[in-house]
């Protein structure tokens, strides 16, 4: 297991320290409000994240690894990116649903380009959010304009991610 306090965690905590000092220098209790808000988020989301990790671990055991690797793996190339793009929009429920699913697929052998493409379409083309928020609040013509402007984004993320993985190797997971 890589070090628990690796460079990533140190940078993160340095950022926490810097923003705490910035908040404190306002002298209006922002540092307390902000820290409290962070703790609240931790209390609310910590238990959910733990069960999500647990579920994702089991699901990755059940998923047929050879199938996942063949269709979504690094070697699947374009096909993996296209599948990722195609299924992304149909997951309702935001990060609570999509992040554990991506973790399970990652552990079962899916490649980073396909998963980044999936996360991209889930957040930019999420059907649920478009129907519930965007069309009612911004109108269908604005929605069409935004979707047209974003059409190239998911395949581009898949391609960029594939290039990045080729240059730097796949990212390390926390295990």
């Amino acid at each position: 297991m890589p070090g628990i306090f690796g460079p990533g965690a140190l940078i993160l905590w340095a950022l926490v320290g810097v923003s705490f000092v910035i908040a404190w220098r306002h002298h209006d209790g922002r540092h307390v409000r902000g820290s409290r808000r962070g703790l609240d988020m931790l209390l609310v989301n910590g238990p959910r994240i733990c069960v999500a990790i647990l579920g994702a671990g089991f699901i990755s055991q059940i998923l047929p690894q050879d199938v996942v690797a063949a269709w979504l793996g690094e070697g699947a190339g374009w096909r993996g990116i296209v599948i990722g793009c195609a299924v992304g929009p149909f997951f309702p429920g935001g990060p609570l649903v999509i992040m554990p699913l991506v973790l399970a697929l990652l552990k079962a052998g899916a490649g980073v380009p396909a998963l980044i493409a999936l996360l991209t379409t889930a957040s930019t083309f999420g059907v649920h959010r478009i129907l519930m928020f965007e069309i009612p609040m911004m109108g269908s013509r604005f929605t069409a304009l935004r979707l047209l402007s974003s059409l190239a984004i998911p395949p581009l993320t898949g391609l960029f991610a594939a290039a990045l993985v080729q240059a730097l190797g796949p990212p390390a997971l926390g295990h």
Partner: protein, 195 residues
Amino acid sequence: MRGPRRSLAAEAFGTSFWVLAAIAGLAGWAAWELKGTDAVGSALSSDFDIVVFLLPRMIGGMMLAGLVQAILPPDLVARWVGEESGLRGIVIASVVGGLTPGGPMTSFPIVVAFYMSGADRGALVAYLTGWSLLGFQRILVWELPLLGPEFTLYRMAVVATLPVLAGLLARRIPLGPVGPEKETGMAEARPGRRR
């Protein structure tokens, strides 16, 4: 302070916790049925490693998310958009989108307010794209703890410039006037112009 604390616990162990727990239970049972005890054991030990590895990052990520919200309240940040045009306007809208905390219940009222305060279509599209691809709260609260720092950095590097691209394209797509079709009653959500 008992009230808010108790409602936090209620939220933490609300429906979504139990749904996730039920899924985990079912998947655990299925893994045990299909693959046997060893599979369950190896899943548990790898989950434990992930939790131990991610705990300091998860706590740090959420503290950072809370502090950033305290330093940059959304209504202050909102004033930066709409006052700028050109490429600068689109870049600022993308960044502001990434700085907007929360889900669609926060970002859509803000985008309606931008529209009403005269932001152009490029800025509106860039804002929503920036929020959905780079929203810091989702990254710090969900992506970093679950998928780990390296995956998160890869994804951020990959999507970093794309909100700007979407905004630039939106200005060039010939599609009549865009905007809410009817009064949405969001006027009170207009970003604070206190002065």
